[in-house]
């Protein structure tokens, strides 16, 4: 009887997490509260059990996440016993950057890309775990598990280190930092199945329920709080929806669904005909837009 697919993926991720903690000076885990982050956090707790994972969680906040996500963030910080650092780009706070007046590109760049760079520099983290997966997007399919960034946080995709066997070279030049992706080889379906088998708590928005939404530019956007300006003719309607991925609520499209439990969600996803990134509005720019963002320092 061989190890199952998920057992092998789990073991590989735990190996990566331990390797980084053994070799990096000051690691941190990027925690975005979504399902991938939930799996990554769960794996970290397993990797270092009975110790608490020896690094903090960092949430680069945009202030525009769903309310349920903030609740989950506080709950998981408490349950894991790990330190939680919440960073908000002060410039974005001051200028009140938001997706409505500044557009999704500026919003994402200032809050997330700039915010992340500032946070890493401020605390001097030299290694940051991220929950990205290779099946998400073409440029990610080519990224190494240990991905180096220059002191300016830029990624040079043409100059990646060879990465063989289970041997990861974590040595870096001065000023460089590393992004580590322990979930590189997981697919979306693996994530869902693992959440199910391991009973990992996730934000309830992933399950279908009646929620107030408006249809905007072909996407169903949830009206999560009173800050959302309605366009002429828009009235929130109650629809039974869930989310396949979670981000800033004005930039995250819902899907209509009857799946109220995790098992039903998985059942729907296994039969699904669209990829999860379709719900993410930031990807729908020019081709190679993710690669360009990554070169700029987007996670």
């Amino acid at each position: 009887m061989s190890l199952s697919h998920l057992q092998r993926l789990e073991a590989e991720s735990i190996h990566i997490l331990r390797e980084v903690v053994a070799e990096a000076e000051k690691p941190v885990m990027l925690y975005s509260i979504g399902k991938d982050s939930s799996v990554m956090l769960h794996l970290a707790r397993k990797a270092f059990y009975p110790a608490v994972p020896p690094f903090p969680l960092l949430h680069v906040d945009t202030t525009w996440k769903f309310r349920d996500m903030y609740l989950m963030r506080e709950r998981m910080a408490k349950e894991s016993g790990m330190e939680l650092i919440v960073y908000k780009n002060p410039e974005a706070v001051e200028k009140g950057i938001n997706p409505f007046t500044h557009g999704s590109a500026v919003h994402t760049d200032v809050w997330k890309t700039q915010g992340l760079r500032q946070a890493l520099d401020k605390y001097g983290f030299d290694a940051a775990f991220g929950g990205a997966r290779r099946d998400e997007e073409k440029s990610r399919a080519k990224e190494r598990v240990f991905s180096f960034r220059t002191a300016q946080h830029r990624w040079d995709p043409k100059n990646q280190r060879p990465e063989l066997w289970r041997l990861y070279n974590a040595r870096k030049r001065r000023g460089e930092s590393i992004r580590i992706f322990p979930l590189s080889n997981w697919t979306e379906l693996d994530i869902w199945q693992y959440l199910y088998l391991e009973k990992v708590p996730i934000v309830p928005l992933y399950y279908s329920a009646l929620r107030p939404v408006v249809e905007r530019d072909g996407a169903l956007i949830m009206v999560d709080d009173e800050r959302m300006p309605l366009r002429p003719g828009e009235t929130p309607m109650m629809k039974k929806v869930r989310f396949r991925t979670l981000g800033c609520y004005p930039l995250t499209g819902a899907v209509e669904s009857e799946a109220e439990t995790l098992a039903e969600v998985i059942h729907e996803i296994a039969a699904a005909r669209t990829s999860e990134r379709e719900g993410r509005i930031i990807d729908h720019d020019a081709p190679s837009s993710m690669e360009a963002k990554k070169q700029e320092g987007y996670f």
């Binding site: 061989s2 199952s4 397993k46 009975p50 080519k142 041997l167 059942h267």
Partner: protein
């Protein structure tokens, strides 16, 4: 992860819903699947990306929006006149899409009813050998793709030898574009017999050959009606049935390299690592290498409760019955089948860096969770990847493969790579750039190693230094020819001598008259020159002396190596910083003139590089201070650091 039954997981406490049980059963079937990792080698034109695109497409791994993007891209940037261009699914980086080639390893995922697959799509060109090796290193199986019209080419042989060196046990020769040779059985039979002869010659254990047309889908998933003469499995049938390497590794002896010592408090001391061989169970007698200490497994601890047994492939934490010293890099092995321990090996090396491998140079070697210093002995040979001949070679360039001996600064436990990839595979890291510059596979330990054990002497370094009433160190002067190193070094020695210190000055020209008179000025000889000087300096520090060295020592790497030979704080790098123009003007030995006229080759600063120190302990600017002043500042520095009382 535990194998326990999960409870009904409900989102909003609606209780068990109809359809829940069916969904649960579906998940259980899916998660019981195994995982096969394979890689694909072939050139741009053999249709490699098309084949993978076809596997993804036919196994329904593509979503509608991805298909829509693919259709739009095929029309816009496709190379198939608007027809579906599956290659566009894989060529992810914009540089690759523009050039229509695959530069880097790309990982793809798909699954069938019985298995999940991770495909590493690796580039075929010789200049991307290192990327191919990256993708192949974790594969259970390799697909070698060729064009039926072209047959077996030089690069087919190169790919085959590479996957064979990497120890991949299953190789599938996929003969593509059968539609373009009229699905001819003769064409296929000829290719197959030629390839089987080649594979037998190179000891490749399990070789299969399959005729396909990736564009039309013949023999990819379903049997081809155009080739009724082929009765073997389709490519997918083979992928679904081939043995996964991890199953074999489980029958090897126990190997558990320790990654991390887990000590949350004084009551718990666990050893965490990934099982890379065999099985481990509670109560098992184990041995720690290289120390040789023995104990028994007390617990196998996991987040979900203790386990009785764990197997190769799992990441675990164990505790032992006895308190013995174990740190990262040690390997826990079965007491009755320990690993061999040695510090000298023969190995195959794949070179992966723009800067050539120079024998004599020292690199960091990472094997398992341990990092040691390794010095490469002269190459036995390099492999001509086109003719498979063994060639004599002074160095290895990027993407070249050779065999050599290596010597480590300490003993490590290991297995031959052919037996266990994890305890026999290693990477080499350049200590200056920190890049991964090479990958290697251990063959065997050199027996003579056990005969040259370090002799522990009764009078030690501290006692010798005390007898001289001083603290030994190395003052390592570096700089261009004519910078003023020897002048300042001489003055420093005089000053120290007048302070009744025991010193010795090693000077570049003097050493080349005796100890190193067999060496010239090629890069390789310069590396060896430095290695010997660094070793002599180390012995002299051991003798309790203050050693002053005065050599151009142009390479950071060798200076770092010299530094690593002595204790922390004993190596003082002094950069005699004189601009090239000033040094050339001084030219005390007339060497710059000769070099400019081409009479002296490999002259530092002219046709050989000088790599200035990044963080010298001391920098002397000879354009601003006289030699006397410079020497005085060296002595002042030694006082400041407490090296001169």
């Amino acid at each position: 992860m535990s194998a326990t039954e999960p409870d009904k997981v409900t989102a909003n406490q609606t209780g068990v819903r109809p359809g829940e049980a069916a969904a649960d059963a579906g998940i259980r079937l899916r998660v019981a699947k195994s995982l096969l990792r394979f890689n694909t080698c072939g050139s741009v034109d053999d249709g490699k990306s098309t084949l993978i695109g076809r596997l993804l497409y036919d196994s329904k791994a593509l979503f509608d929006d991805q298909l829509a993007t693919l259709e739009a891209d095929s029309k816009k940037v496709g190379t198939r006149q608007g027809e579906m261009d599956y290659a566009l699914l894989l060529d992810g980086l914009s540089a690759e899409r523009e050039q229509g080639i695959t530069i880097d390893v790309s990982y793809r995922f798909f699954s069938t009813e019985t298995r999940n697959f991770i495909v590493a799509d690796t580039p075929g060109h010789e200049q991307y050998t290192r990327n191919m090796v990256t993708g192949a290193s974790t594969a259970d199986l390799s697909i070698i793709l060729i064009d039926a019209r072209k047959g077996i080419l030089t690069q087919t042989r190169r790919h085959s030898v590479l996957v064979s060196l990497l120890g991949i046990r299953h190789v599938v020769l996929v003969v593509n574009k059968m539609d373009l040779v009229g699905y001819s059985q003769d064409v296929f039979a000829k290719i197959e017999s030629e390839y089987r002869a080649f594979a037998a010659e190179h000891g490749m254990p399990d070789v299969r050959c399959i005729p396909i047309s990736a564009v039309n889908g013949d023999n990819v998933i379903t049997h081809s009606s155009a080739m009724p003469w082929y009765t073997g499995p389709t490519l997918m049938e083979l992928l679904e049935s081939v043995e996964i390497d991890e199953t074999r590794v489980r029958d090897l002896p126990l190997r558990l390299p320790i990654q991390w010592v887990n000590r949350p408090d004084h009551t718990f001391r666990g050893f965490a690592g990934t099982m890379v061989g065999g099985k481990i169970h509670k109560g098992q007698a184990v041995r720690v290498e290289p120390s040789g200490n023995t104990s028994r497994v007390a617990r196998i601890v996991t987040f979900d409760g203790d386990l009785d047994e764990a197997v190769a492939g799992q990441s675990i934490t164990i505790t032992l019955e006895d308190e013995i010293d174990i740190s990262r890099g040690d390997v826990i092995v079965a007491a009755d089948s320990p690993a061999e321990v040695s510090d000298q090996f023969e190995a195959t090396l794949v070179w992966m860096d723009e800067a050539a491998l120079l024998p004599g140079r020292s690199y960091l070697m990472k094997i398992g969770s341990k990092t040691v210093n390794a010095t490469i002995a002269p190459l036995k040979y390099k492999l001509d990847m086109n003719t498979m001949q063994h060639l004599a070679a002074p160095k290895l360039d990027l993407n070249e493969i050779g065999v050599c001996n290596l010597e480590l600064d300490r003993e490590i436990p290991f297995d031959p790579y052919a037996v266990n990839r994890d305890t026999g595979g290693f990477i080499l890291i350049d200590r200056i750039s920190n890049d991964t510059v090479g990958a290697g596979m251990l063959h065997f330990a050199l027996r003579r190693a056990s005969n040259v054990h370090w002799q522990a002497l009764d009078v030690n370094k501290a006692e010798r230094a005390t007898a001289k009433g001083q603290r030994p160190c190395v003052l390592w002067f570096t700089g261009l020819s004519g910078a003023g190193k020897s002048t300042i070094a001489n003055l420093v020695e005089k000053k120290l001598h007048s302070l009744k210190r025991h010193t010795y000055l090693l000077d570049g020209d003097n050493v080349r008259h005796g100890l190193n008179k067999d060496l010239g000025f090629s890069e390789a000889d310069r590396v060896e020159n430095m290695r010997r000087i660094a070793e002599v300096a180390k012995l002299m520090v051991d003798a309790g002396l203050i050693v002053i060295t005065s050599f151009i020592s142009p390479f950071r790497n060798e200076r770092a190596m010299a530094r690593s030979l002595v204790a922390d704080g004993e190596f003082i790098e002094i950069f005699v910083d004189t601009p090239m123009s000033v040094a050339e003007e001084r030219d005390p030995k007339g060497l710059y003139g000769k070099a400019r006229r081409g009479e002296v080759k490999n002259f530092t600063g002219i046709d050989s590089p000088y790599e200035p120190p990044e963080n010298p302990e001391l920098r002397l600017d000879t354009t601003a201070a006289s030699p006397e002043h410079a020497a005085e500042s060296v002595v002042a520095y030694l006082r400041e650091r407490g090296l001169l009382a």
